[in-house]
């Protein structure tokens, strides 16, 4: 049995930012990592993926991008090198190749069993990520004999047969895969439910720049109207490309991607799609326009209209009058289905009763419902930016401060 004050599970950007703030406060800790630093970035991404946030925004505590292309988007090898450089810079106490197999409550702390040795700690920080397991709808089991992939299994179009591809889900993953697979010459059918449409650039700046400048990314979890809703929002339809391209449904349509509504049923070889596509697109268009209006209003309030390009609005999403409601997948030449239907965290190793009935961690701004337990890196955990690289620092600072106070209270008790 080894002992330390705090165990951090996961050496991605969140775990490392936490490590930095724990070190700054003199809190003795170890970061346990199942693989290498930035393991998910190394192993669970398709080949062409780039960050959806610009390089300048990949800030970590005491660390920032200093390369030649601040407006660009890092490739995965660049992200891995960047996060590794951060781990080296802060000299994070990472134990790599150490998979946590069970966490349980013990005395006034926790026992952390791993595939190597068992640790005892007072406090625990879960920094193992929000996207450990692809989520598939229940109907996925009933599909006919068609090759089926999750985004974790997808690497590049070359691994797919030459036949058509149905991609289920039109958020960040789905639209990016649709673009690249269509560009490889394959027919692509995209199943579209609710989604968040955004232009890559607006009035000459990255949309991420606007979301930060206007304060949106710093919006706090205890200030929003419906926290549950914002935490469940689909990921943004964005792609990081050297051309800084927009990837909305209109762009995909122009590239030859076909659309149907949300996949709602499978009946033999037939897939059925919701008749709600038009409204899903209307919701996304209206929501995008509200965001652009608020950016314009912010610029006007600052009196900076002359400093940026002119305001503009984009074409409403163009949808065929009667999209297919039903399709015989085999007859239509669909040879591959890709489930871009989201991800969830994996807490199968967590033997402490802190999950709700939906399997989500019960926490308040990252302070988990068990003494001395914390989580970091979940969507809108403390701020809208919580699940982004740029959000790790502020959340880690808050949680490290909370932990210090917890130790102080415990010592006084």
């Amino acid at each position: 049995m080894r002992r330390t004050t705090t165990i951090v599970i996961g050496a991605g950007q969140s775990g490392l930012a936490m490590s930095k703030h724990l070190s700054d406060r003199g809190i003795d800790h170890v970061v346990l990592e199942r693989g290498e630093v930035a393991h998910s970035w190394r192993t669970e991404r398709w080949n062409s993926l780039r960050l959806l946030t610009p390089n300048w925004q990949s800030r970590l505590p005491g660390f920032a991008y200093s390369g030649p292309d601040p407006d660009g988007y890092m490739t995965m090898p660049e992200v891995v090198a960047y996060v590794q450089a951060y781990a080296d810079r802060i000299d994070a106490p990472v134990e790599t190749g150490t998979t946590v197999t069970r966490v349980s409550r013990s005395g006034d702390g926790y026992l952390v069993a791993t595939d190597r040795e068992t640790w005892a700690c007072r406090t625990l920080v879960i920094a193992s990520g929000a996207c450990n397991v692809p989520v598939l709808p229940a109907l996925a089991e009933r599909l006919p004999q068609i090759a089926s992939l999750t985004p974790f299994q997808y690497r590049a179009p070359a691994q797919l047969s030459a036949s058509g591809v149905m991609i289920v889900g039109a958020s960040a993953t789905g639209v990016q895969l649709a673009r690249e697979i269509r560009a490889s010459g394959r027919e692509v059918l995209l199943c579209v439910g609710e989604h968040v449409r955004l232009p890559r650039l607006y009035r000459g700046r990255d949309i991420k720049w606007w979301m930060e400048a206007t304060g949106m990314m710093d919006a706090r979890y205890d200030e929003v109207d419906d926290l549950d809703r914002v935490r469940r929002l689909p990921s943004l339809q964005l792609i990081g490309t050297p051309e800084r391209s927009t990837i909305d449904l209109n762009a995909l349509r122009a590239a030859g991607v076909a659309f149907v509504g949300k996949l709602v049923a499978v009946d033999g070889a037939k897939a059925k799609f919701s008749g709600s596509l038009a409204n899903c697109c209307a919701l996304a268009d209206l929501k995008m326009n509200r965001l652009l209006e608020s950016i314009d209003a912010w610029i006007d309030a600052k009196g900076w209209a002359d400093s940026f390009g002119p305001p503009c609005r984009y074409e409403p999403t163009l949808i065929a009058p009667n999209p297919l409601l039903e399709l015989d997948l085999k007859a239509a030449g669909i040879g591959t289905i890709i489930w871009a239907t989201g991800f969830r965290p994996d807490y199968s190793w967590l033997d402490v009763p802190v999950l709700d009935r939906k399997g989500r961690l019960r926490h308040t701004g990252g302070v988990v419902a068990s003494p001395g337990m914390y989580v970091i890196g979940l969507p809108f955990m403390r701020r809208r930016k919580s699940s982004f690289i740029d959000g790790a620092g502020d959340d880690a600072a808050d949680l490290a401060a909370h932990m210090s106070a917890y130790f102080t209270r415990a010592a006084a008790a």
Binding site: M216, D225, D226
Partner: protein
């Protein structure tokens, strides 16, 4: 908080919807999901020809049968071109009415929640149907609607985009819209 987050209802509007009660119900049911399991019931009896009469009374919800002050009656028949007596709307028209009413209720509730005062909410609905389906002429033609078009004409103290957003949100949260746009299991038994 910035202008970029959802605005809270600072404007006061009265559309006759008790939003506080609805939000309270949402809050309590999220803590006690079993109480959210409702069952809706209709009892229908054949009258004559294609004419039938449905009685709609109690329903099940919040863990118990919920009685009603009234038992409502909905009649249905078919028009004369179907060689029927046209004593009441056709069932498919009642479905359209159900969709319209569900969306309209949603418009009122969403507008109330967003502080938007409504002055009038009118809608017209039109649905396409190829009778070759129900008459069994062409197996490739479905029985039901091939498309439904709903047009809202809304007068309210709000911008056109705000009104459009209310209508979009009402679709997103409408039971009848969901029943019509997505498949539902239907299990029919006989005594």
């Amino acid at each position: 908080m910035t202008t970029m987050t959802m605005k809270s209802p600072t404007k006061t509007a009265n559309n006759g919807v008790n939003v506080a009660a609805l939000l309270g119900a949402r809050d309590s049911l999220s803590k006690a999901p079993a109480a959210a399991a409702f069952k809706w019931r209709v009892a229908c009896e054949w009258v004559n020809g294609t004419h039938s009469r449905s009685a709609i009374g109690s329903f099940f919800g919040l863990g118990t049968d919920q009685p009603r002050k009234n038992t409502f009656t909905v009649e249905a028949d078919h028009p004369e071109v179907f060689a029927a007596e046209d004593q009441a709307p056709t069932p498919v028209e009642i479905v359209l009415s159900g969709l319209a009413s569900c969306l309209t209720a949603g418009v009122a509730a969403v507008a109330q929640n967003r502080g938007i005062q409504l002055h009038s909410v009118k809608s017209t609905l039109e649905a396409d149907m190829d009778l070759q389906g129900i008459l069994g002429i062409d197996e490739d033609v479905r029985n039901g609607f091939s498309a439904i078009r709903v047009h809202f004409d809304i007068k309210a103290d709000a911008t056109p985009d705000e009104i459009a957003a209310v209508v979009a949100q009402s679709q997103k949260r409408s039971a009848v819209y969901d029943i019509i746009t997505n498949p539902t299991h239907v299990l029919v038994t006989v005594n």
